[in-house]
Symmetry: C2
Subunit: 263 residues, 2 copies
């Protein structure tokens, strides 16, 4: 099975894309809801929490790992690759690649949590492929709480977006959504800044995952054999319904219960 890890339920947007793109693969999802959010924590704590979560997925039999959390991908990826021998994919390289494919002006912007932006992970990943690209970055910590409050189209959200983005996106044609919650604000962002190509790294992650499973010879070809397991570290009463709502009506039959695990 494929192990997907996120600090909370935001990574379910990535899980959904993978489930739809790779319908034969079994999925084990872990959201660290007892310690979410990771975005403002220190590097040491983010690495410790991420190792504990991936350790759980590996011990349960994951054949590869997708780190859906941007903060964990930005901070803990090299530690993870040293610690485990199975393939580990993050969202950063995928998002960087997709932005390069889309930008004509060679001016790209990235938004994310404090730690994701401070790490320069997206900037470094983009520069590694094409050093001539200009990358403009901004930490946007209020966007996750606004999404979690369902203020997708609220006037306050528009004002916060303008405060964060007006200067940032002035000269760019492509904006990377460097946090799994942000795709839920994509429509509002597009309505304020219609000139932008908005990049959600999840789509490229699913494509990359497909290639790597193929390359490693571990892709599951049997139709209708996939199983799904969803785990969190704090199984609050709302988690199951939020999970169903993020996965969408078409996937509602694949989840009947949420497991709580203690790391």
């Amino acid at each position: 099975m494929i192990g997907i890890f996120d600090s909370g339920v935001g990574g379910l947007t990535v899980a959904k894309t993978i489930i739809e793109h790779l319908p034969n693969e079994s999925i084990l999802y872990l959201g660290d809801t007892a310690r979410v959010p990771y975005g403002n924590r220190s590097k040491d704590i983010i690495i410790r929490y991420t190792l504990e979560c991936v350790d759980f997925l590996v011990s349960e039999g994951a054949k590869c790992i997708v780190v859906a959390c941007n903060t964990a991908s930005a901070i803990a990826m090299s530690t993870l690759k040293d610690a485990f021998s199975i393939p580990i994919l993050g969202v950063i390289e995928a998002g960087a690649k997709m932005a390069l494919l889309n930008s004509k002006s060679k001016n790209v912007a990235v938004i994310g949590t404090r730690r994701t932006i401070e790490s320069n992970a997206y900037k470094n990943a983009i520069k590694l492929i094409d050093d001539s690209i200009n990358v403009f970055q901004k930490e946007t910590p209020l966007l996750v709480p606004l999404v979690e409050e369902n203020f997708y189209y609220h006037k306050a959200t528009e004002m916060v977006l303008r405060e964060y983005l007006d200067d940032l996106v002035f000269n760019v044609d492509t904006l990377i959504l460097g946090c799994t919650h942000y795709p839920l604000l994509a429509e509002t962002i597009a309505s304020i800044y219609p000139h932008l190509c908005i990049v959600d790294p999840a789509i490229e992650v699913a494509i990359d995952l497909d290639s790597i499973l193929d390359y490693e010879g571990i892709k599951c070809e049997k139709a209708n054999k996939a199983s799904y397991r969803f785990c969190v570290t704090d199984n609050d009463k709302d988690v199951l319904s939020v999970t169903k709502s993020i996965l969408g009506d078409a996937n509602n039959n694949i989840i009947t219960s949420m497991e709580e695990v203690r790391l």
Copy 2:
């Protein structure tokens, strides 16, 4: 020494009031910054985390405990009182008492995190003293992130406050700030709703603490003997400067370093 516990650094507003009101008392502060915020987590997790934190304070020699965190006070207080034999004070009863002293209309409003409001802790505490008071409650989860982003006077904050409070405070004369972060928005709230008496429970907590130390015969009467120790579970690089800024210029000499503890 007095042990003061909060889920993060917000409780330093309570610590500051106690330090100023009881200058002879030594203080041990613990902020659970590796797992903040508590406000949306399940009851079981909040109780587990709170027990671990208070256990640390007691094992380090605290003679009494102040639970500065509203969520922990609302959810874990009876468990704490069963588990420990030293005096344990929360912010809820103090805030309730202060609201009753101030309200002339007998219509009181409370704002707080999801779990604080769901618990009805303030409502129950008020009704226990005077059943004729009408208590109106609202969860206001966006206010903590707005404070943490220093958006104290931002237009977006005003719009969020209006969204949350317009209906809530229409008929009340007193508003309890049921979260340690909210006093930093008191001026903005007062400018939008000048008719409100705004209650910060910290002040009453310091007064209650004084009485209880006296009553138990454990009050420290020696001047200039107080010592101060500040601990967090994630000692991120900003924590010390944020702590100094919340304690204020007058108290800056009492803190030189921040300790990290692992629970």
